[in-house]
């Protein structure tokens, strides 16, 4: 047996280690038992949630309306423009509100930042609003109090403390809201408070480097769409870095390879751990995390020699890396002014080198511009000093959780406990808020008024789409109250806008029109004031010196990365995010230490073996492509407070991060691995990594494509030619729906998966069920490795129901619960399904999902609900899309091509007496895709985009040799290999 073969076996079929854990006793949910009850409670829930914010009159019953409010039509959704912001993710969104409940977030096509596509976290965020663990009213220590009491006590103490010279510290995450900033300014003045912004994964090192290189702390905007050559040193710009949704759109626009758009960019990724971006790279160069500095110096030296910069003495990176870097250097040099070099390390020295390389290549002002600079990531480590100071009087923690996310957790805890006054203003309990004396409940962002200036000169608004569910108050409202400002927060924002932005525009004459117009659009774009920066080379030498003199790491280097779904620690609260498998490892529910196959073999570590790393115990996962001496762990896991017991997963790795010369460092050198002998369950959704040489994801190189646009897909024509059939052709007289998926633009970000979850009421099954392969997602993103285990090529493929014209599943259902619609949809009739799972067995794509247990509470049998994530309690059920049936235990479900959307748009067109337009109808996955990889439409219309894509030489159907005639087409993956 060859080594390669062995390797795939090592990774094969992760066996659930501990089936005994699966006790299945989850009847904790004390709620309705029958379907009738379910409906009743749904109604009640809606009532108790009161109604939309703008709805003035109290309404007694949800449906039917006795007196119908103007803006609500039962069964018809209302859409509001708003925005989502969390850490590094910002999206202008449209909130879909049905029967007064926000149920879905969609991209705002008018936005200049994110006109299409969202991230997965945005999609899942609707669940946060209905989270059962939220604070429901103000709490003093453990005692529930009323707002007035809290206000009075806090104001008194604040005045007292600031009067007595003790410091008042307000810690917030980065605030991008101009109005809030103004308000906080007023607050700090009136209470003599210090305001600090804190980012768990900060970018203050970048800002410092820019200050040194360009004399400005601004974070520039990157134009990946203009870059012909992208070189990323450990920077996950498609997954977690700076503004991934935006970057994905930009990047993918250069991957959509058609005759009219033939310029494929070239992407090099030099990295240690396998990142989402790395898996998409044309060439991925594997290098240890400890080599990044040397690599940057090497790049600088080599490029500098061609661009007249001074060389510096430095040991070059290992031979195998330098060998591969030659191409990188040549390509960068060849694409001066049309390339981007980025590095994903918060070390200011590294960033200074990156800046000088970009300067050297003439990229500054071209692909990297300081016009619409980013406003987020303003956090730094300065707050620590103030907090740990003995003079600390009051600490107000606003929706931030340093106790969890900072390595000096213990000192912070002590400081907060010591402080005479500690107040937490947050929606959901967290490790920090629980320490505070006062816990003031804040609403979720869908219940809030706010504004946001994510990028300079692009200001968005947030408006509530739901009456506050609990007795909560926005932090801004709290501050207003404390300052005794009589304005409501909404009016405050409006006044601020009138004074600041109204004058900047000319389209609306009256300020109220302007306000309404802004709310309608969700975004105001101010004139672009081109900023000029002056480059200063002098900082570079020092940075190069520091980087070149870095000590090599002994043993392993640990690299902490942001979890693509969990973010900085917000994700674990959201069961959808936890259940969505990581796009690289395909593991859901929890983190793990990724180690290289060679290292794993050397240390006899297998998937799930718990290892000791510093003082951390964490299960190991053998990750192909991982650098030999680097271990990668995702941050954001291991939350304990505010997360239901059952869904507490993973390990908090923040304590291993460090602060070095006042910058957070997410690497730890000189670590050793100790196997503990224990094992832990990993919910590995995809057990097999190799395509086994099958033509599942068809790929070719850019060169081949230029020769022949059908490169890699030659067999398509061959197979079509040999298609014989014993059946007559089925006629689809009206529409014939179809979908085309561009494998070249898809990055695997999983926004589609989460959008589908939200749109189609897909249940959450929890870690143990997921590990038993009982996951329910209707769309999955298959990931295959190809080639060398040390640095495999990665191919991805989103797979949902293929809606075959000759579907094997339909044939075998004994009760005809699944059949073909007259529009070419493979229909699934839940009511009729008796759950034989025969269809699923006979589905060659394995896209059918079975309700193994009563995940939703829709089952007729009482006391059997299985809901580890508490997502089917009355509150959480309010997020359900009422157009989609909640499936009962024992039925099969699967992708419906969002039939509810099809019907809605068809009806709209019919009422308006016009034919449907191409593109008018979008499926949820398509809508959420920031890469524009999914196109849906009518195959009977030869002019539709999807029809044209189906005729593209790159198009093929999955397993087309079986003659199932899928309605989904895939466009080949084209890599720009050198």
């Amino acid at each position: 047996m060859s080594d390669e073969k062995k390797y795939w076996e090592l990774l094969n079929e992760f066996e659930p280690l501990d089936d005994a854990r699966f006790k299945g006793k989850r009847e904790a949910v004390s709620s309705p038992t029958s379907r009738r009850n379910f409906l009743k409670v749904l109604g009640l829930g809606a009532t108790s949630a009161a109604l939309v914010a703008s709805c003035k009159s109290p309404v007694e019953k949800a449906i039917p309306y006795f007196i119908k409010p103007d803006e609500i039509t039962p069964g018809k959704a209302v859409y509001y423009a708003s925005s989502y912001f969390n850490q590094n993710e910002f999206c202008n969104v449209i909130v879909k509100v049905r029967d007064n409940r926000p149920i879905k977030l969609e991209p705002n096509p008018k936005s200049v930042i994110t006109p299409y596509g969202t991230s997965g976290r945005v999609q899942a965020s609707v669940m946060d609003v209905y989270n059962v663990n939220r604070y429901r009213s103000p709490v003093r220590n453990d005692e529930t109090i009323v707002w007035d009491e809290a206000d009075n006590e806090i104001i008194t103490q604040l005045k007292e403390l600031s009067g007595s010279g003790r410091t008042v510290v307000l810690i917030t995450p980065t605030i991008i809201s101009p109005s809030t900033k103004k308000l906080i300014g007023e607050f700090t003045q009136s209470f003599n408070a210090e305001w600090h912004q804190y980012d768990p994964i900060p970018m203050d090192g970048y800002r410092e480097a820019n200050r040194r290189s360009f004399g400005t702390e601004e974070l520039p905007e990157y134009h990946f769409e203009n870059a012909d050559c992208i070189v990323s040193v450990g920077c996950d710009f498609l997954g977690t870095w700076l503004s991934p949704v935006e970057f994905t759109s930009q990047y993918s626009s250069r991957r959509a390879l058609f005759e009219e758009n033939p310029g494929l960019n070239k992407h090099y990724q030099i990295e240690a751990g396998m990142s989402l971006t790395g898996t998409n790279a044309d060439t991925r160069i594997r290098a240890d995390r400890a080599e990044y500095g040397k690599i940057l110096v090497h790049l600088y030296n080599q490029l500098g020699s061609q661009n007249g910069a001074t060389q510096i003495e430095a040991t070059p990176p290992p031979q195998e890396v330098t060998e591969k870097l030659k191409n990188v250097i040549n390509d960068l040099q060849a694409n001066r002014g049309r390339s981007i070099v980025v590095c994903g390390d918060n070390n200011p020295d590294y960033q200074v080198i990156v800046n000088s390389i970009n300067q050297m290549l003439g990229n500054i002002g071209e692909t990297i511009q300081f016009n619409r600079t980013y406003n987020h990531f303003r956090g730094n480590e300065n707050w620590l000093e103030a907090l740990l100071d003995q003079n600390l009087g009051a600490v107000i923690v606003w929706d931030t959780n340093p106790v969890y996310s900072h390595p000096m957790s213990d000192q912070i805890r002590a400081a907060i406990e010591r402080a005479p006054l500690s107040v937490a203003i947050t929606a959901q309990p967290d490790e920090t808020s629980e320490l505070c004396k006062y816990k003031l409940p804040a609403p979720g962002y869908l219940e809030c008024w706010d504004d946001a200036e994510y990028k300079k000169g692009v200001v968005s608004v947030l408006q509530p789409t739901l009456h506050k569910l609990f007795n909560s108050r926005q932090a801004q409202e709290v501050l207003l109250t404390w300052m005794a400002n009589p304005l409501s927060w909404q009016d405050y924002i409006r006044e601020n806008w009138t004074s600041v932005y109204f004058t900047e525009q000319a389209a609306n004459a009256s300020s109220s029109d302007f306000w309404i117009e802004t709310l309608r659009n969700g975004e105001l774009v101010l004139n672009n004031t081109a900023a000029s920066v002056s480059y200063n080379e002098s900082a570079t030498a020092g940075a190069l010196q520091t980087a070149a003199s870095e000590q090599a790491s002994e043993g392993f280097t640990l690299e902490l990365t942001e979890g693509i779904h969990t973010g900085t620690g917000h994700g674990p609260l959201n069961p959808w995010l936890q259940e969505c498998p990581d796009p690289v490892t395909r593991i859901a529910w929890g983190n793990y230490a990724s180690i290289a196959p060679a290292a794993a073999r050397r240390l006899s570590i297998k998937n799930g073996d718990v290892i000791q790393l510093g003082n951390l115990q964490i299960p190991a996962f053998v990750q192909p492509g991982q650098a030999d001496s680097t271990i990668s762990i995702a941050l954001g896991y291991g939350r304990t407070t505010g997360v239901a017991e059952e869904i507490r997963t993973g390990v908090n790795a923040y304590p291993l991060s460090r602060v070095e010369s006042n910058y957070r460092r997410l690497t730890v050198p000189n670590l050793n691995i100790e196997p503990t002998g224990q094992t832990e369950l990993l919910a590995l959704i995809q057990g097999h990594q190799s395509m086994e040489g099958r033509a599942i994801v068809r790929d070719a190189t850019y060169e081949e494509w230029k020769e022949n646009p059908a490169a890699g897909n030659e067999m398509h024509e061959e197979i079509q030619k040999h298609h014989t059939t014993l059946y007559p052709k089925t006629i689809y007289p009206g529409h014939k729906w179809g979908m085309a998926i561009d494998l070249n633009t898809c990055t695997g970000c999983s926004a589609c998966v989460l959008a589908c979850n939200t749109e189609n009421n897909i249940p959450v099954v929890g870690k143990i069920e997921a590990s038993r392969h009982h996951e329910m997602q209707w769309i999955r993103i298959d990931r295959y490795y190809k080639g060398d285990e040390n640095n495999p090529e990665v191919l991805r493929q989103p797979v949902m129901c293929q809606h075959c014209d000759q579907a094997p599943c339909e044939n075998v259902c004994p009760v005809a619960a699944t059949n073909q619609s007259s529009e070419g949809l493979n229909q699934m009739v839940y009511n009729r399904c008796i759950g034989t799972r025969y269809c699923n067995n006979n589905c060659p794509y394995k896209v059918r999902r079975f309700n193994w247990l009563d995940y939703t509470g829709a089952d007729a049998i009482p006391n059997n609900r299985f809901d580890p994530a508490n997502v089917t309690v009355d509150l959480s059920r309010m997020r359900h899309n009422p157009d989609v049936t909640v499936r009962a235990k024992g039925v099969i479900e699967k992708c419906s091509f969002c039939i509810q959307r099809i019907q809605e748009k068809k009806l709209d067109a019919k009422l308006e007496g016009r034919p449907m337009e191409d593109g008018e109808l979008q499926t949820a996955c398509q809508q959420a895709c920031p890469a524009n990889a999914i196109v849906f439409g009518d195959l009977n219309d030869p002019e539709s985009r999807v029809s044209k894509l189906m005729k593209n030489p790159r198009n093929y159907h999955l397993l087309e040799e079986l003659h199932t005639l899928p309605a989904v087409g895939y466009l080949t993956k084209i890599k720009n290999k050198s």
Binding site: Y727, P728, T730, C804, D805, Q806, A807, P808, C809, E810, N811, A816, N819, Q820, S822, L965
Partner: protein
């Protein structure tokens, strides 16, 4: 009121001979009862071939056609559905059910007819003259109603074939 004269043998070959002997004497045999089907007895007794197979064939044909027609009706008239791209009239798919219904109808019709024709069934009370008939007695039953000969002559004739335990009883039916 009639007389029933019966006697038995312990060997089926003796029975066959006795039957032939009695028939040669022109005596009509009312019934022969045996513990198992004796080969050759039906031809000696000149029992007509059973028509149960014909009944089975007819019932099977009915069952099969009903099944086939029903399936055709459902898929082409009742509610035609496109299933896996198959034609509505997907005849090969109809074969199994048609076949099963053929067999089911044939088997049931035949068994029911057998029971009705033989007057057997749950609760049927047989006229058992000798309990050993179901063990090892091969019994010949004569009745004066079928024969012109007298009771005594019948008894005599039966005894002369070597029948054992010849008895004569009177019955109303």
């Amino acid at each position: 009121m009639r007389s029933i004269i019966y006697g038995h043998f312990t060997d089926e070959l003796d029975l066959l001979n006795a039957v032939k002997e009695l028939q040669n004497k022109g005596i009509k045999i009312d019934d022969v009862r045996t513990p198992f089907p004796v080969h050759g007895l039906d031809s000696v007794l000149k029992l007509p071939r059973s028509r149960l197979p014909i009944a089975a064939f007819i019932a099977g044909a009915i069952g099969g056609s009903l099944g086939l027609l029903f399936q055709i009706w459902v898929f082409t008239r009742g509610w035609p559905l496109v299933i896996g791209g198959k034609p509505f009239l997907s005849l090969p798919s109809f074969i199994p059910v048609t076949f099963e219904l053929t067999v089911l109808f044939a088997a049931f019709a035949m068994v029911i007819l057998f029971l009705v024709r033989s007057n057997l069934g749950p609760g049927s009370l047989p006229d058992i003259l000798d309990e050993e008939v179901t063990n090892d007695h091969f019994q010949i039953i004569l009745t004066d109603r079928n024969n012109s000969a007298s009771e005594a002559e019948l008894e005599e004739a039966l005894a002369s074939t070597g029948a054992l335990g010849v008895k004569n009883i009177k019955t109303d039916n």
